[in-house]
Symmetry: C2
Subunit: 275 residues, 2 copies
């Protein structure tokens, strides 16, 4: 029988970074059956006390100490959690002490240090980028390609739209996407509208079987989602990328984050907004 454990991710803010970090730690122990909960916005002592009771109950229920991953700036809140019948992994404070010694400085110990005008500008940039990505999604408004940082192309359902939105939202980049379909695929040459901007073009490809699976989930039975169509379209697209010497990436089994990070890395693009 699998070991049962409750795992809490506790933060005074959104806890999203802590959640991603904790999740990658927990996946290193596949033999354990983790019950994981994200608890954001623990920003006063009353909330910490109430959470503490819940953590202790979970420990009793599982018969094993709960694992608690925290990123908390306030010492008082952290001290409350530390009194629990649980094991606390402090994803943040663990490094602050060593950094203070190395830098010979005290940390500012402030929540949301990164906020303020810098964030306001970042928000505006990200918003503008998202609106641009939507405006130039799926081959629309190609007349704006002079403003694009990146133009993603590939067959239908190869992941262009989620990737474009991800890159615009998180990196503030102006990303357009252009679908390769029927006639343009058969012509074997990069579509006219992309030629002028070929240094910005990045191709996505995907295993035909995976493409078939994705297309069938919504459009079962049409030519569009036949095995033959998927195979032909992928072969035509990959051939087009090779002939035109467009860099491309096989997205099968990659998450949107991985596709995005890989494209940025290979295309040498930098984020337009700072974290």
């Amino acid at each position: 029988m699998k070991q049962e454990r409750y795992a809490y991710i506790v933060s005074d803010r959104t806890g999203l970074t802590a959640e991603a970090m904790a999740q990658s730690l927990l996946t290193q122990f596949p033999e354990v059956n983790f019950h994981t909960r994200l608890i954001p916005f623990i920003d006063d002592e009353a909330k910490a006390q109430s959470l503490l009771s819940e953590i202790n109950e979970s420990t009793n229920k599982a018969g094993n100490k709960s694992l608690v991953f925290v990123t908390l700036i306030d010492d008082n809140i952290r001290n409350i959690i530390n009194t629990g019948n649980c094991v606390v992994y402090d994803l943040f404070d663990t490094f602050i002490g060593p950094m203070e010694r190395e830098l010979d400085l005290h940390s500012s110990h402030t929540v949301g240090q990164s906020h303020g005008v810098k964030d306001t500008n970042a928000y505006t940039s990200r918003m503008a980028a998202v609106h641009f990505a939507m405006q130039t999604d799926d081959g629309m408004d190609t007349s704006h390609y002079n403003r694009s940082d990146l133009i993603i192309t590939g067959v239908s359902r190869s992941g262009k739209t989620p990737t474009s939105l991800y890159l615009s939202l998180h990196f503030g980049l102006f990303v357009s996407n252009y679908p390769l379909t029927g006639e343009e695929l058969e012509r074997k040459r990069l579509p006219e509208v992309l030629i002028e901007y070929r240094e910005k073009v990045f191709g996505l490809t995907i295993d035909p079987l995976r493409l078939l699976q994705i297309r069938q989930e919504r459009y079962r039975g049409k030519t569009y989602s036949s095995a033959q169509t998927c195979q032909t379209e992928v072969a035509q697209a990959e051939n087009m990328f090779r002939v035109a010497r467009i860099p491309y990436l096989n997205t099968t089994r990659m998450s949107v984050e991985e596709i995005g990070a890989t494209i940025l890395h290979r295309a040498g693009l930098r984020r337009r907004v700072q974290l």
Copy 2:
């Protein structure tokens, strides 16, 4: 004069989680002038060696040891980085040893443990959610609101579209958004189409001055971006939310991640895709 330091974020994968964590640590030391670089996909020893030279050069250049934040699974790669003339903060491995002792298990030490079929399904769900969000953006296709997990509403440029896309992309939620404009705002009642789904509706509001600033960046001079219009629209929208008892949030000075996490928290929604 500010202390100069190079900071590297080094990962065998995208490094995005490590980057967010490192950034929040670095912001605790505003007195230091950090030169930060994200180095993803360090997945073999040759890449590690070449990076090592660069890190050592940066240390010489700054006259201070470079700070290196790593999330690396492979011991050999980590060992190479550890030989550098730098301070290494291991965001991942620091916790693996203590977790192994607590769980009385060895960690699997595998890169990308979370991949495979689970991710494939997550990808499909996220893609479907993104397409739904785009299909029902800005009041389009309201006939699909029966499938929405959440319907975000607010005046133009209050952050509805980026928030909808963020929640669909990262949480796999089906999020629609509906703009409040002219006549509907004046009528002071929740628009007809939202009444039926009012338990799914969440309002966004924003300080009028901030709204003015955002609107002027693209539409300077029109009525739409006059101070008077911004003030009136925001007051009308907030009043509508209060009368209809719709939960709402002031997004001024919040990042998209914070807006998203706050809505999920307040609306009691859970992610549809696991990390």
